[in-house]
C-alpha cells in the first residue's frame, strides 16, 4: 500500500487534475451529444470514474485516507444507481421498443 501511494506521487498532482478534468469533460460531452440511453449512462459512469481517480490522487498526495474511503462510497452508490437505472431503461424499452432518448418528448404541451 505504501508503495502504491508513493508511485501515485511520482506524477505531479497537476497532471492528475488535468487528466481527470479531461475525462470528466469527455463524459459531459457524451451525455450531451449521444442519443442512446445506455451510452449516456456509460458517459455518466465515466464522469464518476474521473472523480474517483482525482480523489485517489488527492488522497495520496495529502497522506489522508478519507479521500480513498470516499471513493468506496462513490463506487457503492454508483452500483446501486446502475441497478435502478438499468431497470428503468429496461422498463422503458418494454413499452416503446427503443432506448433512444429522443422519445423523451411526449410530456411537452
Amino acid at each position: 500500500m505504501e508503495n502504491i501511494t508513493q508511485a501515485i506521487t511520482l506524477v505531479p498532482i497537476n497532471h492528475y487534475i488535468l487528466f481527470s478534468t479531461i475525462i470528466f469533460i469527455i463524459g459531459i460531452i457524451g451525455v450531451l451529444t449521444r442519443r442512446n440511453a445506455i451510452i449516456v449512462f456509460m458517459s455518466i459512469e465515466l464522469m464518476l470514474n474521473a472523480v474517483n481517480l482525482l480523489l485517489a490522487a488527492f488522497s495520496a498526495y495529502r497522506g489522508d485516507a478519507s479521500g480513498q474511503i470516499f471513493v468506496f462510497f462513490i463506487m457503492a452508490v454508483a452500483a446501486a444507481e446502475v441497478a435502478v437505472g438499468l431497470a428503468i431503461i429496461v422498463m422503458t424499452y418494454r413499452n416503446t421498443n427503443s432506448i433512444d432518448i429522443n422519445f423523451l418528448n411526449k410530456l411537452k404541451n
Binding site: I13, I17, S20, F24, G27, I28, V31, A37, V40, F41, I44, M47, L48, A50, V51, L54, L55, F58, R62, D64, S66, G67, I69, F70, F73, I74, V77, A80, E81, V84, G85, I88, I89, M91, T92, N95, T96, I101, F103, L104, K106, L107, K108, N109
Partner: protein, 455 residues
C-alpha cells in the same frame, strides 16, 4: 440520529409486512414509525449531538427540518390510502421506498461531512427515480423516471467533481474544516464550489437548471409528485443552506453574482411560464420552481435569519402544497383530468374542498392571513436587511404574477359552471389531512409567532 434509525427500521418492517401479505397493517405501522421518529427528534430539541466522528451533527437546525420532513411524510402517507392499490398489488415496496427516501432527506439536513451530503442526496434521489416510474405501463411515467434518472445522475457527477476539487483544495470533507482552509488553494476551491453550486441548484430545480422539473412532475404519479415538491425540495434547500452557510459562507464573493442571476431567472421563468399553463399539475410544477427562487433569496442574503426564514417558508409551502395536491388527486379521480377546467364549478358541488383549495392557493400566492404570507415576509425581510432591495422589488413583482395564476384556479372553482351533481366523495383520511393543512395554514397566518423564533 435515532430518527434515522427508526425510519430505516420501519421501512424494513414494512417490507416484511408486504412479504407476509399484511396489506392492512402497512399504513398504521408506517405512521407509527414516523410518529416515533418525529417524537425522538423532538425530545432531542436544544441539544447538539454529533455522531460517527462528526459525520452527522444533530442541532436545532437539523431537528426542526427533520420534524417538518416527518410531518409532511405522515400527511402524504395518509393521502396514499387506496392510491397505490390502483397502481399495483405490491404496495409495501412503495411505502418502504418513500420511507428510505425520507431517511435520505434526514441525512441531508443533518450532514456535517460531505460524504454524508452525498449519501443523503443519493438515498433520496435513487428512491425517487424508482417512485417516478411506478406506473410501469404508463409511458409518461416511464419518461419521467428515465429523464429524472439520467439528469439526476448527471448532476451527481458535478456534485462529486466539486467535492473532489474542494477536498483537494482543503484536505477535508468536514464542512467546518473546509471553511477553515478555504483560502489555501483558491483556484481549485472556487471551481469546486461552483460545480457544487450547479449540482445543488439542479437538485432543487433552480433556473437555468430547472428544465427537468415540469416534465418529471407531470409524468410522475400525483402523490409522488407531492412528495417530490415538498419533502425532496425542503431537504434539498436545508442541505443547500447548511452547506453554503457553514462551508462556503466566508467565500460568498465567489458565488454571490451567480446566485443572484439564478434567483432573478428562477423567479421570472417560474412565474411567467406558470401563468401560461392550462394543466394544474404543470402549473404547480412551475410554481414550485418559482418557490425555489424565493427560497434561494434567503441563501443569497446569507445571515443569522436565513435558516429561520427558509424553515418558515418550507413549512408554509409544504403544508399548502399537500393540500393543493390532495384536492387535485380527488378531482382527478372523480373527473379524470388534472386540467384547470376540471375544477370548474367545484365550489357548488363541494364547497369544503373548494374552500381548502382556495386557502392553499392563497398561501402559495402569499396572501395575508395565511402562512405563505409570513413565509414571503420573512424571506424579503432577510433580503432587505442584507441590502438586496432591488431583488425584493423584482420578487414582489413576480409574486403579483403568481397571484394571477393561482387565482385562475379559484376563479374556475367559484365562477365557472361545471357539471351539476358531480359531487366528490371524500374519505376520512383525506378529510383529516385537508382540514389539518387548512387549519395550520390559517393558524400560522394569524399567529406566526409560533414558529418565528425557532432557530
Amino acid at each position: 440520529m435515532t430518527s434515522i434509525i427508526i425510519i430505516t427500521i420501519t421501512a424494513i418492517v414494512v417490507l416484511y409486512l408486504g412479504l407476509y401479505k399484511a396489506q392492512k397493517a402497512l399504513l398504521p405501522v408506517s405512521i407509527l414509525g414516523l410518529l416515533a421518529s418525529g417524537a425522538t427528534a423532538f425530545m432531542a430539541w436544544g441539544s447538539e449531538l454529533s455522531y460517527f466522528n462528526d459525520m452527522i451533527v444533530f442541532n436545532n437546525y437539523a431537528i426542526a427540518f427533520t420534524i417538518l420532513l416527518v410531518v409532511t411524510t405522515i400527511l402524504i402517507f395518509l393521502l396514499s390510502r387506496d392510491y397505490f392499490e390502483h397502481i399495483s398489488s405490491n404496495v409495501a415496496e412503495y411505502y418502504a421506498i418513500l420511507l428510505f427516501a425520507l431517511a435520505g432527506g434526514v441525512v441531508m439536513v443533518s450532514f456535517q461531512n460531505l460524504s454524508m451530503l452525498f449519501i443523503g442526496i443519493e438515498i433520496l434521489s435513487v428512491s425517487m427515480y424508482i417512485m417516478a416510474g411506478i406506473k410501469r405501463r404508463n409511458i409518461a411515467s416511464n419518461e419521467a423516471a428515465l429523464k429524472y434518472f439520467l439528469l439526476g445522475a448527471f448532476s451527481t457527477g458535478f456534485l462529486l467533481f466539486g467535492i473532489a476539487l474542494v477536498y483537494g483544495a482543503t484536505g477535508s470533507f468536514n464542512i467546518d474544516q473546509i471553511a477553515a482552509h478555504a483560502s489555501e488553494n483558491p483556484l481549485l476551491f472556487n471551481v469546486g464550489l461552483t460545480l457544487m453550486l450547479i449540482a445543488m441548484a439542479f437538485k432543487v430545480g433552480v433556473a437555468p437548471l430547472h428544465f427537468w422539473t415540469p416534465d418529471v412532475y407531470q409524468g410522475t404519479p400525483t402523490l409522488v409528485t407531492t412528495f417530490m415538491s415538498t419533502v425532496v425540495k425542503t431537504a434539498g434547500f436545508a442541505a443547500f443552506l447548511r452547506l453554503f452557510t457553514v462551508a462556503f459562507g466566508a467565500s460568498s464573493h465567489v458565488w454571490m453574482v451567480t446566485v443572484s442571476v439564478m434567483v432573478v431567472l428562477t423567479l421570472f421563468i417560474g412565474n411567467v411560464t406558470a401563468a401560461f399553463q392550462s394543466n394544474q399539475k404543470r402549473l404547480l410544477a412551475y410554481s414550485s420552481i418559482s418557490h425555489a427562487g424565493y427560497m434561494l433569496i434567503a441563501i443569497l442574503a446569507l445571515g443569522g435569519a436565513s435558516a429561520n426564514s427558509i424553515l418558515i417558508y418550507s413549512i408554509a409551502y409544504s403544508i399548502a402544497s399537500v393540500a393543493a395536491f390532495g384536492v387535485m388527486i380527488l378531482v382527478k379521480q372523480q373527473r379524470g383530468s388534472d386540467d384547470i377546467t376540471a375544477f370548474n364549478g367545484l365550489a357548488k358541488n363541494n364547497p369544503a374542498l373548494a374552500l381548502i383549495m382556495t386557502i392553499a392557493m392563497c398561501s402559495l400566492a402569499g396572501i395575508p392571513l395565511t402562512a405563505g404570507f409570513f413565509g414571503k415576509f420573512f424571506i424579503f425581510g432577510t433580503a432587505i436587511s442584507a441590502h438586496y432591495t432591488w431583488l425584493v422589488a423584482i420578487a414582489v413583482l413576480m409574486a403579483a404574477v403568481g397571484i394571477y395564476y393561482y387565482f385562475k384556479v379559484i376563479i374556475a372553482m367559484y365562477l365557472r359552471k361545471g357539471e351539476e351533481g358531480n359531487i366528490i366523495q371524500v374519505s376520512t383520511h383525506y378529510q383529516f389531512v385537508l382540514a389539518f393543512c387548512a387549519l395550520v395554514t390559517i393558524l400560522l397566518g394569524v399567529l406566526p409567532g409560533l414558529i418565528t423564533n425557532l432557530l
